[in-house]
């Protein structure tokens, strides 16, 4: 690991100031991706700003019938939250399937979505539920607009995720085909029936989470496994790597969509 200066700001405002005044600074929350990245010398920040303990980024609250989760809330807290289990059980079970228990004890919602790993689980929930990402600049960014590419988001360089608001769906479920070693999604499908229509978000399959619009249209016409079967997923924009070829990932999108459909009921 390269050397860096470490800061533990006492407030979000102080964290934002530190981030804005150090162009090579990076944020640290749970560190379950960033510390391994530092250890491999894949990053060389001048300053590391630890926001994992900021009270302003904590808490899970009920809001407008849905849930609002602070950016520094850990996966294990979401998985174990009675409120999340009652309002959006699909979100709690997604959190329960991330990594391993120790990763879930430290890793955070804000860290996961700000990093936007192509195979991370949370981006599928943010897009699949039509969630809203709130930031230190007072912006409310729609889930559909937040994830802009591989490891890229709509966040400005000095902007910090503060919370995510997830509206309550009529029904929803997440199904993933995990890599057996890392538990990252080879393909993960978050499927939801919401007030604004059917949403199907796919993670792991492509360089960035995306909505499978053909599946959404088919399921809007008929909420059934036969609808999913009738759709062809184009593999040309999907990932091929040592874990799975693009055509296999295209196949898995439909299989995971059907599993999610069965789980959602």
């Amino acid at each position: 690991m390269y050397a860096f200066n470490y800061h533990r700001p006492a407030s979000l405002a102080e964290a934002a100031r530190l981030l804005a005044s150090n162009p090579e600074a990076k944020l640290l929350a749970g560190g379950q991706t960033y510390i391994p990245t530092l250890k491999q010398r894949l990053a060389r920040p001048s300053d590391v700003i630890d926001i994992g303990g900021l009270a302003e980024l904590k808490g899970i609250t009920e809001e407008a019938g849905g849930v609002t989760i602070g950016a520094a809330v850990r996966h294990a807290e979401v998985a174990g939250s009675a409120l999340v289990r009652r309002l959006i059980p699909a979100l709690a079970s997604l959190a329960e399937g991330i990594g391993d228990p120790q990763v879930r004890n430290r890793g955070t919602l804000g860290g996961s979505i700000a990093n936007n790993d192509p195979a991370a689980d949370y981006p599928a929930a943010v897009v699949g539920l039509g969630a809203t990402v709130r930031t230190s600049k007072g912006r409310a960014i729609a889930g559909d607009a937040f994830f802009t590419g591989m490891f890229e988001t709509a966040l400005e360089p000095d902007e910090i995720v503060t919370a995510v608001h997830f509206p309550k769906p009529e029904k929803a479920a997440y199904a993933k085909f995990p890599n057996p070693a890392s538990r990252y999604a080879i393909v993960g499908v978050f499927l939801a029936k919401t007030a604004s229509g059917i949403r199907v978000a796919v993670t792991g399959a492509a360089p960035c989470v995306f909505r499978a619009t053909a599946l959404e249209q088919a399921l809007a016409a008929s909420w059934s496994a036969a609808s999913i079967d009738s759709v062809t997923i184009d593999p040309s924009n999907l990932n091929s790597d040592i874990h799975a070829q693009a055509d296999y990932r295209a196949h898995l999108v439909k299989v995971m969509a059907k599993r999610a459909l069965a789980a959602a009921g």
Binding site: M1, Y2, A3, F4, N5, Y6, R8, L28, G31, Q32, I35, P36, L38, K39, Q40, V48, D50, G52, A76, G99, D100, P101, Q102, V103, N105, R106, A181, S182, R183
Partner: protein
Amino acid sequence: MRISMTVNGRAVSGEVEPRTLLVEFLRNQLGLTGTHVGCDTSQCGCCVVHVDGVSAKSCTMLAVQADGCSVTTIEGLAQGGKLHPLQQAFHEHHGLQCGFCTPGMIMSAADLLQRNPDPTEHEVREWLEGNLCRCTGYHNIVKAILAAAQTMRGMAKAAE
């Protein structure tokens, strides 16, 4: 940077670079070498300790992040010279071969049993997702954890 924390009930402090990992602080500066480093890539779980009562991979945490925290390592588990029920059960059920992964296995299992005193075999196996053993095939590890859970439930009952 100067950091202070409680390790196995004892107040400790030390001077560290911000890039020092918690496991490096525990092993190199405090001499607590029971916490192992197996993979260095956050996957094997040999380095699991408890930070404020919750299991964490000490190779995936900076020592400065644990400033002000209470840390428990495998050395802090036995009380009054008597092995913790998990340690005793790993011994009795031969839950190890080379023993390298054992500290992490036991610290991880201790976190499971404080959340779920009566886990099923399936729940134990699921919980051990972040702990790799390259010798035993896990069977006796799972057996030991289930046996320890039973012992600890008996102790809790006796204490009532």
